[in-house]
């Protein structure tokens, strides 16, 4: 939404381009299905937005951004582990983030696949989809965090 506004402000000529980019980001040629993006967005709203914010940019000093970071766009198994086990204390782009991310083992394999696919293809990100089977494999080899 924020990106949309900025682009809009650049002028009417860019409006068409912005719209095209937006729709392209939602439906990349070899990316996730629209259905998975819709499901993933729902999980994001319920589980992630409070900390990572509407624009995915997180919170200064606390909750890390999800935009164009190696954690989000890189190794999928490592990313699934962050959701399953939670995370605290990370440096991204020279900034320290000290907020606590709770583990989310209660989410189903499909929900985790959907939300990670959504995150990897929103906020300007573009990366391959995550499948429930991939999540299942990671979960089977991941020890749950001590309570």
């Amino acid at each position: 939404m924020r990106r949309f506004r900025i682009l809009f402000a650049l002028g009417g000529g860019l409006f068409v381009l912005a719209t095209a980019l937006m729709s392209q980001a939602g439906k990349p040629a070899q990316g996730p299905s629209a259905a998975q993006m819709t499901r993933g967005k729902q999980v994001y709203l319920e589980q992630c937005l409070a900390c990572h914010q509407v624009d995915g940019l997180g919170v200064q000093g606390m909750n890390p951004p999800l935009v164009k970071t190696k954690q989000v766009l890189g190794d999928k198994a490592a990313l699934v582990k962050i959701v399953l086990n939670g995370m605290q204390g990370v440096e991204i782009g020279g900034e320290d983030y000290n907020g606590v991310m709770a583990p989310h083992p209660d989410l189903t394999d499909q929900q985790i696949a959907d939300v990670l696919t959504y995150v990897r293809n929103s906020f300007g990100n573009k990366a391959s989809a995550v499948t429930a089977a991939q999540v299942k494999t990671v979960r089977a080899t991941t020890k749950p965090p001590a309570q």
């Binding site: 937005l49 000290n98 606590v100």
Partner: protein, 412 residues
């Protein structure tokens, strides 16, 4: 009803203040602001010496240094002699009786100053306090000194609400909360004694989730603190709270502390709309019922999540009479109001009379964010953090996003 009260309180504040633009900031009529430095880094708390020299603590090292001394030798209002020292990050920065006190996230140091407020031995401070907990979350150690040789140090709780699993949906609270033995409170130490620890200090006040702004009030001779209230009411307890309630609650509270004060975290939070303490959902609360035994009440309850990072009682004579002995609070700005619009990013004023708040708080300095859209999204240009009073009675405000220090003055 809830939103009506919120709207009213904000509207009243703006209306009373009648703010006018001065550069980035909006200030009451007659005030002006000047950026002493900009783009200086993560400037947290600061102190201004009697000769106008500024000391500022950084949350991230700048050229390997965590404290900077800023001196204006040519009188143009901007520092031209800038020296760094102290190779550690942190927040606390206080000047008292010829010493500069500074905190890392685990220790408190002090540096002897000479008659021109030069640091006598910048590489060899005395370590006053050592070994305080740093578990990332709420790790800044803010400091204040009284007039009896004591220093007060905040140790923030390394949790949101002391749940079995921190920040997890419907995870119950631990009973009793084990965090409270070494965090979630204020510790008192002697200001001149080296190597003090939890064991040799005094556990002065408890039940405070996280304090960043605190100040000694010389009128009441007592410590006042601003607590950062708990987060994620609707996120963690969606059956009990909706997003609107969660954005407004709980209050960001100002407390007047005395030895033994207990402000109730994590068992209760203060609901500024119902005007009462309510039991936290982690401890069986439903958003309505109160605790069996009440804890200490706040002296001022602000809207939720505004993140108070600086507190200063104004004792100067430059500002109009109404500001004398009142409190300035720097609100860093919210994040935990999402998906509702964010709020804060301003400095407010609370009038005091005879040591008690004597009227509604009002926004004193606004528009740090750069506009309503940036406030709502939380993508603010600047975020107020530290406050200090200059020898001429001017008010200094830091921003820890880019590193601006503003000097706010009043011209009759």
């Amino acid at each position: 009803m809830r939103s009506a009260i919120k709207t009213l309180s904000f509207a009243t504040a703006f209306c009373l203040a009648g703010l006018v633009s001065f550069g980035q900031l909006k200030l009451p009529e007659g005030f002006k602001a000047m950026a002493v430095v900009d783009s200086f880094g993560k400037t947290r708390h600061l102190a201004v010496a009697p000769n106008g020299v500024i000391f500022v603590k950084l949350e991230r090292l700048k050229d390997g240094k965590g404290i900077y001394r800023l001196e204006d030798t040519n009188g143009d209002g901007k520092p031209d002699k800038v020296t760094g020292f102290g190779g550690y990050v942190g927040t606390g920065m206080v000047l008292k009786d010829g010493y500069l006190y500074a905190s890392s996230n685990t220790d408190v140091y002090r540096y002897k100053l000479d008659g021109s407020n030069n640091v006598v031995n910048p590489d060899k401070p005395e370590k006053i306090v050592t070994g305080l907990l740093d578990r990332h979350q709420h790790n800044s150690k803010s400091i204040a000194l009284d007039n009896s040789g004591n220093i007060y140090v905040n140790v923030g709780a390394y949790a949101n609400s002391c749940q079995m699993q921190d920040r997890s949906r419907e995870s119950p609270g631990r009973m009793p909360c084990p965090i409270l033995d070494s965090a979630g409170g204020i510790w008192q130490f002697r200001a001149d004694k080296p190597d003090q620890t939890y064991g040799t200090g005094t556990h002065y006040a408890s039940g405070l989730r996280n304090v960043v702004g605190l100040d000694w009030n010389t009128q009441t001779n007592s410590l006042f603190v601003m607590q950062h209230g708990r987060d994620q009411l609707s996120d963690n307890w969606p059956k009990l709270f909706n997003n609107k309630q969660s954005a407004e609650l709980p209050a960001e509270c100002m407390y007047e502390l005395h030895k033994g004060s207990n402000c109730g975290w994590p068992y209760i939070f203060y609901d500024q709309i119902q005007h009462k303490q309510v039991l936290a959902p982690e401890y069986g609360g439903d958003g309505k019922k109160g605790p069996e035994k009440e804890f200490q009440d706040p002296v001022v309850a602000f809207p939720g999540h505004l993140a108070p990072d600086g507190l200063l009682f104004y004792t100067g004579s430059q500002f109009p009479e109404k500001y004398k002995n009142g409190a300035f609070v720097a609100f860093h700005g919210s994040w935990n109001r999402a998906p509702e619009p964010q709020a804060g990013f301003f400095v407010v004023f609370v009038p005091f009379k005879d040591g008690k708040p004597s009227g509604n708080w009002e926004v004193f300095a606004d528009n740090f964010s750069g506009g309503a859209d940036k406030t709502a999204s939380g993508r603010a240009d600047y975020r107020p953090c530290g406050l200090a009073q200059g020898p001429d009675g001017a008010l200094y405000v830091t921003d820890d996003t880019k590193g601006v220090i503003w000097k706010i003055s009043y011209n009759k």
